[in-house]
């Protein structure tokens, strides 16, 4: 009986995982990521390239309001480089002593400025669809990193025969419903990488996803490194307490 029940349960769980994938459109490719697994770490070079893609392509339409320039230290940039990145941005500050808002160059403490003053302005400039904020994008979709990378690198395909695509829509095989407002953002050599890496569409998609995963989960490395120590400590503690338990109970058996 237990075996039958176990069989039913595992069948149910298997169907469950298949079902969740089917609900999100095409099954996602099996990408591997350096930040996966219990020893996972971010790849600094990939994140820097990804930041370049974000800065030169994504940031034109997408906000990333939860990330500050100072956070870029995580990517391996030094204080001067971060100041330079921040200074490229224009930030509205104020009010000053005259009660006026004014523009100034960005500082490392500033969050990334948004490309549009509000969601309505963003929608108006983008054919009625608001480009979503990217701060948490890599966590805000099921299997986030693989979904983002697949959508950017492989998703834009010719629609199947008879699939109706309206004005301002694009076909994307990984997007739920397959109709996405964003036109394919990354063509080969859309950016010229500072480290000389060939900027293929797949390379840029992988790099920007790496950057987005950091933006969504900036404490990932700290968390996993601490986790290894904590779990090892608890395993040893469990072993010791098991020995104590055996010793205390020894006179009963």
């Amino acid at each position: 009986m237990k075996r039958i029940v176990a069989g039913v349960l595992s069948a149910a769980l298997l169907t469950f995982s298949v079902q969740t994938q089917a609900a999100e459109g095409k099954a996602l490719p099996d990408y591997t990521w350096e930040f996966d697994g219990i020893f996972g770490k971010f790849d600094r070079a990939a994140m820097q390239r990804g930041y370049q893609v974000y800065r030169e392509v994504c940031a034109g339409c997408h906000a990333m309001r939860l990330v500050a320039f100072r956070n870029l230290a995580d990517l391996g940039y030094d204080a001067d480089q971060i100041k330079a990145f921040a200074a490229e941005a224009t930030v509205i500050d104020g009010p000053n002593d005259e009660g006026e808002m004014f523009e100034r160059a960005g500082r490392p403490a500033d969050r990334f400025p948004s490309p549009f003053p509000n969601d309505k302005a963003a929608a108006a400039a983008n054919g009625g669809a608001t480009p979503p904020d990217l701060s948490l994008m890599a966590k805000a979709r099921p299997h986030g990193p693989s979904y983002v990378r697949a959508l950017l690198s492989e998703g834009y395909e010719d629609p199947p025969a008879g699939f109706e695509i309206l004005e301002g829509q694009n076909y994307n095989s990984y997007f739920p419903g397959n109709r996405i407002a964003m036109a394919a953002p990354l063509d080969d050599d859309a950016v010229e990488y500072q480290d000389g890496t060939p900027a293929s569409r797949d390379q840029m998609s992988a790099d920007v996803t790496h950057f987005l995963m950091w933006a969504a989960e900036p404490k990932l490395e700290q968390r996993k490194q601490m986790g290894i120590k904590v779990v090892l400590f608890l395993i040893v503690l469990s072993g010791i307490l098991y020995a104590v338990k055996r010793k205390v109970w020894a006179d009963l058996h």
């Binding site: 404490k219 968390r223 986790g227 290894i228 779990v231 307490l241 104590v244 109970w249």
Partner: protein, 426 residues
């Protein structure tokens, strides 16, 4: 209370004025005799207590950084995740702590069902446990609303809207719950207030639950009463050390989830800020509510003057409230399923039914899931209202051992002397 012996003058001084040491000794010490044959399934009560403590400590710290306002709630949680020192750790402990609380409590409940722990004279102990389950469900539901993500908002909307199913006053109840005409700032504020309050109510019920437990002590895997001192051992040091060991093992699993898979039991949609104008494709509650969500959605037909929605609501709450009368539905005099060959098998079928309902709850309410959910719901209630009452009469139970000591000591005589020794202290 004066049976507490010590030579320490300070402890004596305190004990004379406030008998806290003898109280502890009777509660979890050498004066609390406990069946000697408890298995590791009996660890989950103390694990639930540990989970509750972890949730309260992390929750109190989170509340120092959280802002209960629709414009700031989502960002304040992200500030905790990014800028507060170890805020990510505290928040992931709290988030996963909720899931682990339900995991250990569900195991604790199923253990009680398998070994008949709800039967006389422990009916009130069991009913207090059901009250704890209801309180923690309410707390978890309101806590999930606080980060103000898409699932927070829409989950709150769906569940509070259920009350509109009640005839005549339904709509007014919903407006009263919301504090307005939609889920908005007043809703968030009162949920935060109640989410902070209810755990303390929960602690109160837990105290009474443990009080009731101490009246007759723990049930045990054989389900028979202790017949004398040879059947029991003092709680301390035997079960204190066993519970500590269990807690360490629990923490290994808990830490693995917190540090390596902190979002595995959450919904990706909740990392999107709440937007009342955009409905998520699939609104699903947290995993621990899925079986009840499946029961709620399985009713798609009106019966006489009762709307499908109202029947669904009644069945959903009924599926938990039925546990309150479980001691009177199962009249079999034998507690443990070890001696109930049919109940033993049907118990596992019931567990499987709950898992299937959970799976249905995670999927859209359409065929084939709908039909599986309807069958699962029917079986859920049939288990309580048909199977258990029938088994009480029809099942041929196996003979019970005469005492707990008997099967333990089957090996031979010499063990008897060794085993009875610690009992003399008790």
């Amino acid at each position: 209370m004066s049976d507490f012996q010590t030579t320490n003058p300070i402890i004596k001084w305190i004990e004379y004025r406030l008998p806290v040491f003898s109280f502890l000794d009777h509660a979890v010490g050498s004066k609390y005799p406990t069946p000697k044959n408890l298995s590791y399934w009996w660890n989950f009560g103390s694990l639930a207590g540990l989970a509750l403590v972890i949730l309260m400590v992390t929750g109190i710290v989170l509340a120092m950084q959280y802002t209960a306002h629709v414009d700031y709630a989502f960002d304040s949680v992200e500030r905790i995740m990014r800028d507060v020192n170890y805020g990510w750790l505290i928040r992931y402990l709290h988030m996963n702590g909720g899931s682990f609380f339900f995991i250990v409590v569900y195991i604790h409940i199923f253990r009680g069902m398998y070994y008949g722990s709800y039967k006389a004279p422990r009916e009130l102990l069991w009913m207090l446990g059901v009250a704890i389950l209801l309180a923690m469900m309410a707390t978890a539901f309101m806590g999930y609303v606080l980060p103000w993500g898409q699932m927070s908002f829409w989950g709150a909307k769906v569940i509070t809207s259920l009350f509109s199913a009640f005839p005549l006053i339904g709509e007014d109840i919903v407006i009263w719950l919301w504090g307005g005409f939609s889920v908005d700032n007043p809703t968030l504020n009162r949920f935060f207030s109640l989410h902070y309050l209810l755990p303390f109510v929960l602690v109160g019920i837990v105290v009474v639950h443990i009080w009731a437990l101490h009246q007759f002590g723990s049930n045990n895997p054989l389900g028979i009463d202790t017949k004398g001192p040879q059947d029991s051992i003092p709680f301390h040091p035997y079960y204190t050390v066993k519970d500590l060991y269990g807690m360490a093992v629990f923490l290994v699993f808990f830490a693995a989830a917190v540090f390596f898979f902190p979002n595995a039991m959450g919904e990706a949609d909740n990392y999107i800020e709440a937007n009342p104008l955009v409905t998520p494709a699939h609104i699903v509650p947290e995993w621990y509510f899925l079986p009840f969500y499946a029961i709620l959605r399985s009713i798609t037909f009106d019966i006489w003057f009762l709307s499908a929605k109202l029947i669904g609501v009644i069945l959903m709450f009924g599926s938990i409230l039925v546990l309150l009368i479980l001691p009177w539905l199962d009249r079999s005099p034998v507690r443990s399923s070890k001696f109930r060959p049919i109940h033993k098998q049907l118990f596992w079928v019931f567990v499987a039914d709950c898992v299937v309902l959970g799976w249905v709850g995670a999927n859209p309410a359409e065929p084939p899931y709908l039909y599986i959910g309807q069958a699962g719901t029917a079986y859920y209630f049939a288990h309580f209202f048909v199977i258990l009452p029938l088994l009480s009469v029809l099942e041929r139970t196996r003979p019970l051992p005469s005492s707990i000591g008997e099967p333990v000591l089957k090996g031979g005589g010499p063990a008897m002397g060794a085993a009875s020794k610690p009992m003399e202290k008790a």
